[in-house]
């Protein structure tokens, strides 16, 4: 019954069910720089899962290891310790050929545009298209489409010298996307762009994620584009401090807000609560809590349905059915009493649970939702 109890509720692992393929699976990843006494650990036991078609924004102060993790995922650095699976390939110990093949399925957008001064915008983008063995006509169509889409239609055959910084950056973005990569790794892709073109870029990202199942990981400090994130990963000092599925977290917060005691809490506090919740699964017939047991957990039903059974004088009596978004188990925690009812799963269920100490802590501390939530997540350091 307590399977996956170590999974945080906000990771979003259960929002679409576990069956969605993972583009990236990082587990127990450590990375070190330097040798001997100068050896310094840059990444500490990083764990991260990214689903196909997800847009992930990585935040964190400089020196937190974001680029290191990004280069490791991008196969640009060799994995030293732990496991890193990208597009189904284990990178730890991967051969050169595997890495080259894998790189061709990825799109890279670097902070510097790195365009060849000698080539036109079209030719620069074509360098990536050629590698993918795209048929020439198709490649041309796609390049024209992307450059037009990024507002460079009139500059397709210009060399970088005649382009502004923002235009060059957009050419580099087109180069990173032209071969329909399965995974895009982008470092501050919108940093050099004005609000309008920045928006155009992220809209394009969203379309690719939705239509082509392209997974996108961005490092950014640009708060204007946080709204496209499906998941926000916050890194501090080489640790992944939080890894939060935005949509799932907002669902949890909405659920929590319906709980009268939590309804006055600020978004920021609710998010903290959501963050502390863990996933618990049950199948039909499982007893979740038993009347008379000491209360340890607060339950929120993410999916499924449970029966509330009260044992009165030796006769079990079903008093209620609870479904998605409802909660149970708070009474025992509030009053430090044993459980006053038995809860049995009526179907396959997923619960999000909160420990007693955390629950009380939230109560002791006592503001449209999603946008604020993202800002809160992104600005955590």
């Amino acid at each position: 019954m307590t399977a996956f109890a170590s999974l945080p509720a906000t990771s979003g692992a259960y929002s679409q069910g576990p069956a969605v393929p993972k583009t990236i699976k990082v587990s127990q990843l450590n990375h070190y720089f330097g040798e001997g006494e100068l050896r310094k650990q840059a990444l500490h036991q990083n764990n991260l899962e990214v689903k196909r078609g997800e847009i992930v924004i990585m935040t964190g102060p400089s020196g937190s290891g974001k680029p290191t993790l990004l280069t490791l995922i991008g196969t640009l650095r060799t994995v030293q310790e732990g496991s890193l699976k990208v597009l189904g390939n284990e990178l730890n110990g991967a051969s050169r050929d595997e890495i080259v093949a894998l790189r061709r399925e990825m799109g890279f957008i670097f902070q510097a545009h790195n365009l060849f001064e000698s080539l036109t915008a079209f030719q620069n983008v074509n360098m990536a298209a050629e590698l993918a063995d795209l048929e020439r006509g198709l490649a041309k169509e796609r390049i024209d489409y992307l450059l037009n889409r990024l507002g460079l239609g009139h500059r397709i055959h210009y060399k970088p010298k005649s382009l502004s910084g923002g235009q060059k950056q957009r050419v580099a973005i087109a180069r990173g996307l032209v071969h329909s990569p399965k995974l895009v790794l982008a470092d501050e892709p919108t940093a050099a762009l004005d609000e309008h073109s920045g928006r155009e870029v992220v809209t394009l990202f969203q379309e690719l994620a939705r239509d082509e199942g392209c997974t996108i990981i961005m490092v950014t400090h640009d708060n204007r584009i946080l709204d496209v994130a499906d998941r926000i990963v916050n890194m501090v000092d080489g640790y992944i401090r939080s890894d939060v599925a935005v949509h799932e977290t907002s669902v949890i917060c909405e659920f929590l807000r319906q709980f009268p005691l939590f309804s006055d809490l600020s978004t920021s506090t609710l998010t903290d609560v959501a963050d502390k919740m863990m996933v618990q699964e049950a199948v039909a017939g499982d007893v979740i809590i038993r009347q008379g047991d000491p209360g340890e957990l607060f339950y929120l039903i993410r999916s499924g349905q449970v029966d509330v059974i009260i044992d009165e004088d030796g006769a079990a009596k079903k008093v209620a059915e609870l479904g998605e978004g409802q909660y149970f188990g708070e009474a025992a925690l509030l009053r430090d009493e044993p459980r006053n009812a038995t809860i049995v799963a009526g179907s396959k269920c997923v619960f999000y649970t909160l420990g007693k100490a955390d629950f009380k802590d939230v109560l002791a501390r006592s503001k449209t939702f999603v946008d604020e939530l993202r800002n809160v997540l992104a600005s955590r350091t």
Binding site: P67, T71, L76, V100, A101, N114, S118, M127
Partner: protein, 397 residues
């Protein structure tokens, strides 16, 4: 992957910065010029060594096995020439006599040096078809006189100050060859080489008069320096050469014109410092070109490290980078070669005018320098490519 339908990155990078391209072209062109100068001088000097062979008639030559160069006075008996005549396909075989050791010419004109200098005397039977030169052949009658000889107009002036402009003046000059009076009755044009500062041409009879000591006992004309064999069908030259070779004994080499020429050039090239000196010159040109080419390619790579790193990240392979740089090297060598070739052609013309050396832009010389230029550029490209292969895309994020 690097085919002509793809983005021509090598060409674009090379031609993008025209200032750098001009410097590169000038540098490689200079190296090409240096190599052409060496090749040109070497060929000119080698050509002057075999000018005598080129001026002689004949398809097959007989030379003593001991004669490692034209200047070596190793002879063989006249009978061998006569024997060669009997081979089938041969229409004529004639002896040629040359003498250097005994042949010292002294003139008694105004301001003439007080000493006799060595000059090559060439003796031939006046009725034999020996020389190609119409200038000699038209003066054969004059040579029938005793003491008569023709002087090479290109003989070294300091040693042989004869007034070659006029035959009358020449005839008045008092001169001695091997301490005996000689009359210069006319001039011809052969040229000097490393071993010979001048030439005299005379009848075999006169030749025998001047150099009776050529053979210790007997007829000085019974030992010959060179046998000239004429064949009826030039297409069968090789075959006839084989026949003669079998016919004659081991004392002589039987050589076609081409073989004889090559053997002579080979001696000067391999057995004297001349070949080494010119080879050194070519190597210097090669190295100069390599350094320049390396600089051009290296700075191109160094200036575009982030771009190349990006290509690496995208999944371009080591093979692509190698092909890219080799391509760039080859392009560079062609771009540098053309102006180098043009400058060299002009220089050849200027030098030929001022030195009298036979500097010719032959297809072989062009091909040789082109191959060296390409090799030079590829070699430096491969040296520079290490920098490119060390590119690390890990620093891009």
């Amino acid at each position: 992957m690097l085919n002509f339908t793809n983005t021509p990155l090598a060409w674009k990078n090379l031609t993008h910065d025209w200032r750098r391209l001009i410097v590169a072209v000038a540098g490689i062109g200079f190296a090409v010029l240096l190599m052409f100068t060496q090749v040109g001088f070497q060929n000119a000097l080698f050509d002057s060594q075999v000018k005598m062979i080129d001026d002689l008639q004949g398809d097959i030559f007989l030379v003593s096995r001991a004669k490692y160069t034209l200047a070596a006075e190793k002879r063989f008996p006249l009978e061998l020439v006569n024997q060669a005549r009997s081979a089938s396909g041969v229409i004529g075989a004639y002896p040629l006599y040359t003498e250097l050791t005994l042949s010292r010419l002294k003139s008694f004109g105004m301001g003439a040096p007080s000493k006799a200098f060595p000059i090559r005397s060439i003796g031939f039977r006046l009725d034999d078809p020996i020389f190609n030169s119409e200038r000699i052949n038209s003066q054969l009658e004059k040579l029938r006189l005793p003491y008569a000889a023709l002087l090479d107009v290109r003989s070294k002036r300091d040693n042989f100050p004869f007034p070659t402009e006029s035959d009358e003046e020449l005839a008045k000059v008092q001169a001695e060859l091997a301490d005996r009076t000689i009359v210069i009755v006319g001039t011809f044009d052969l040229g000097t080489d490393f071993a010979h500062d001048g030439n005299l041409a005379m009848s075999a009879e006169n030749f025998a008069e001047y150099f009776p000591q050529r053979k210790q006992f007997g007829d000085p004309l019974s030992v010959v320096d060179l046998g000239l064999v004429h064949v009826g069908d030039k297409a069968r030259t090789e075959e006839i050469r084989d026949t003669i070779d079998q016919l004659l004994d081991d004392r002589v080499f039987v050589l076609t014109r081409e073989q004889f020429r090559n053997q002579e050039i080979d001696f000067w090239d391999k057995s004297t410092p001349i070949g080494i000196i010119f080879t050194a010159g070519k190597i210097i040109g090669f190295i100069v070109g390599m350094v320049i080419c390396y600089q051009v390619i290296y700075s191109d790579i160094a200036d575009h490290m982030p771009e190349f790193a990006t290509l690496r990240a995208m999944g371009y392979t080591t093979g692509y980078f190698l092909r890219l740089i080799v391509m760039e090297s080859v392009l560079l060598s062609f771009i540098g070669f053309v102006p180098g070739l043009m400058a060299s052609t002009v220089l050849y013309a200027l030098l030929a005018n001022s030195t009298g050396l036979l500097l010719q832009m032959t297809p072989q010389a062009i091909l040789m320098v082109l191959v060296m230029t390409i090799a030079m550029c590829i070699a430096s490209g491969l040296l520079a490519v290490r920098k490119l292969l060390a590119v690390d895309p890990a620093n891009l994020f």
